[in-house]
């Protein structure tokens, strides 16, 4: 198992349930998730199911976290709006930041609008920096609990520490 400082920081912050769909920008994070207890990690088949399961975990009294590629935000939109935002369920999210000009073209159209999409729904977001795991975990958990809803940490290439 590869160690993930980010997962360790989030666990220390209280995360007890992780659901997501892998992204190559989050390989280390997902590898570490596989070593979690079986009831603490849900390898989902699509991102909307992952965030819906996170809502169930929150209702069950356990702090969830969703992790995915930014392409998955599209699948999630209905659930994030009619479940997390409407019922005010906190949901910290790790979302890969794909779609830069030198990235593959299938990532560019949604990837280059990720920030605008989050802004449209007033979802707080930040970009991860090297060595920022502890502080970013604290911010992410607090931001999701503020009004109660999703908050996003965008993880760019080389930030999967």
């Amino acid at each position: 198992m590869s160690a993930s400082r980010r997962l360790q920081a989030l666990r220390r912050g209280g995360v007890g349930f992780v659901a997501g769909v892998p992204c190559s920008y989050l390989t280390r994070f997902f590898a570490a998730c596989e070593a979690l207890p079986p009831t603490a990690f849900l390898p989902a088949v699509r991102e909307d199911h992952a965030v819906a399961a996170c809502a169930g975990a929150w209702l069950g009294g356990v702090q969830p976290l969703a992790a995915m590629q930014n392409s998955g935000l599209g699948y999630c939109l209905e659930v994030l709006t009619s479940l997390h935002l409407m019922y005010r369920l906190p949901l910290p999210m790790l979302v890969s930041d794909r779609g830069a000009a030198d990235d593959f073209e299938e990532h560019r159209i949604l990837g280059q609008r990720t920030r605008a999409l989050l802004d449209l729904f007033e979802v707080p977001w930040r970009e991860s920096v090297i060595g920022g795991e502890e502080e970013e975990a604290e911010w992410l958990l607090a931001a999701s609990r503020g009004r109660g809803g999703p908050a996003v940490l965008l993880v760019g290439p080389g930030r999967d520490s």
Partner: protein, 185 residues
């Protein structure tokens, strides 16, 4: 049996501690009308996510989790069957109130008339999966379903017409979530 009869029967078979996730639309409204309880989570949107929300609960809680799903709803989020069947939470009980139609939106036909949902659930890995046709002893089937080792899936046929539709639930979404969470503390 009608939707109202099946829901009343199931809620009557549950204990206070059991957790319920009720599908958005007619099913949640009927569950509220039949027997409002703090440990029922009423969905208002997010069609297709009944099993996934129930799975998040079943993985984090020891209590029995009962998902009251619809056939159109399940078809929209078919991946949820793979998640439950693959992860096999023993405390998850999945019921489909199957009227073969999208009743909440005007009764348009659903593909559950062609697709055997229980066979799909069994193939996905549910420990117990049955289909119960109309007038085939629904009460017994419901009792057997709740007595089985989970994850257990029952597809029960109900009538398509809805002579006494239940009204909207007079709680805000925030109240619904807060009340549910508080009932577990």
């Amino acid at each position: 049996m009608t939707r109202a009869e099946v829901i009343a029967k199931v809620l009557g078979l549950l204990g206070e501690e059991d957790l319920v996730v009720a599908a958005d639309g007619a099913i949640a409204r009927e569950a509220y009308r039949a027997l409002d309880r703090p440990r029922t989570f009423y969905m208002l949107g997010s069609m297709g996510q009944v099993a996934s929300i129930a799975l998040g609960l079943a993985m984090t809680r020891l209590e029995r989790v009962v998902a009251l799903d619809g056939d159109g709803n399940l078809l929209m989020g078919f991946g949820g069957l793979a998640l439950v069947g693959g992860l096999k939470p023993k405390n998850l009980y999945h019921l489909v109130l199957d009227n073969g139609a999208y009743a909440t939106t005007g009764g348009q036909p659903a593909l559950s008339r062609q697709v055997d949902l229980a066979a799909v659930a069994a193939a996905a890995g549910y420990a117990w999966a049955r289909r119960c046709h109309a007038s085939e002893g629904e009460s017994t089937a419901l009792e057997q379903w709740l007595a089985a080792t989970g994850p257990a899936f029952l597809d029960v046929a109900i009538g398509a017409d809805d002579p006494y539709p239940a009204p909207r639930i007079p709680l805000t979404p925030e109240e619904m979530a807060r009340r549910f969470r508080r009932s577990l503390q």
